[in-house]
Symmetry: C2
Subunit: 104 residues, 2 copies
């Protein structure tokens, strides 16, 4: 679908993309992790898009199998949510992904 193509384009054209909700603490946590790492992700707040928000979430679920927020992509690759991103960071595996995606 058109929306699916636009999501794929967004995640491929930006080094780091975070689909988020403004009032969700897990979304805030992953946004502040990137900030601390000096990375400026493209942040899309799904609760600020009106009816497109739930539609985008459905597309994300179709593409990634994940219906929850935050939904993180690095270098066009689906990473997962907050716990997935933090786990990679703790294992030292987030940095290489960020460098490879030219985010740092």
């Amino acid at each position: 679908s058109r929306l699916e193509e636009s999501v794929k384009k967004t995640v491929n054209d930006n080094a780091v993309v975070v689909y988020s909700k403004t009032w969700c603490s897990y979304s805030s946590e992953v946004k502040s992790l990137f900030k601390r790492l000096g990375v400026e992700p493209l942040v899309i707040e799904l609760d600020e898009l009106g009816p497109q928000g739930p539609q985008l979430q459905k597309v994300l679920e179709r593409i990634t199998g994940q219906h929850t927020v935050p939904n993180v992509f690095i270098g066009g690759k689906h990473i997962g949510g907050c716990t997935d991103t933090v786990k990679l960071y703790r294992k030292g595996e987030l940095d290489p992904l960020l460098v490879e995606a030219n985010a740092k």
Copy 2:
């Protein structure tokens, strides 16, 4: 108001009360902390009460100044959210509150 009285009665009659939302990870985190401590809080899922959910949240905001979830009470005392509860736990100050409230 009647709803305010009922919230005050609920938090005074139960050792530990958690006002939560089923899909919120911070709410889940605080619920699982209590579980690990062998405590069975009274959990009230605000997103499962229909129109009463937002009304209860307004009352909780009036009583505690806190509009967010999770909203935790121990022994009738307002503790705060997830980060507040976890901080007390890390400092060893949660246990004495739970013992005093007969939750353990």
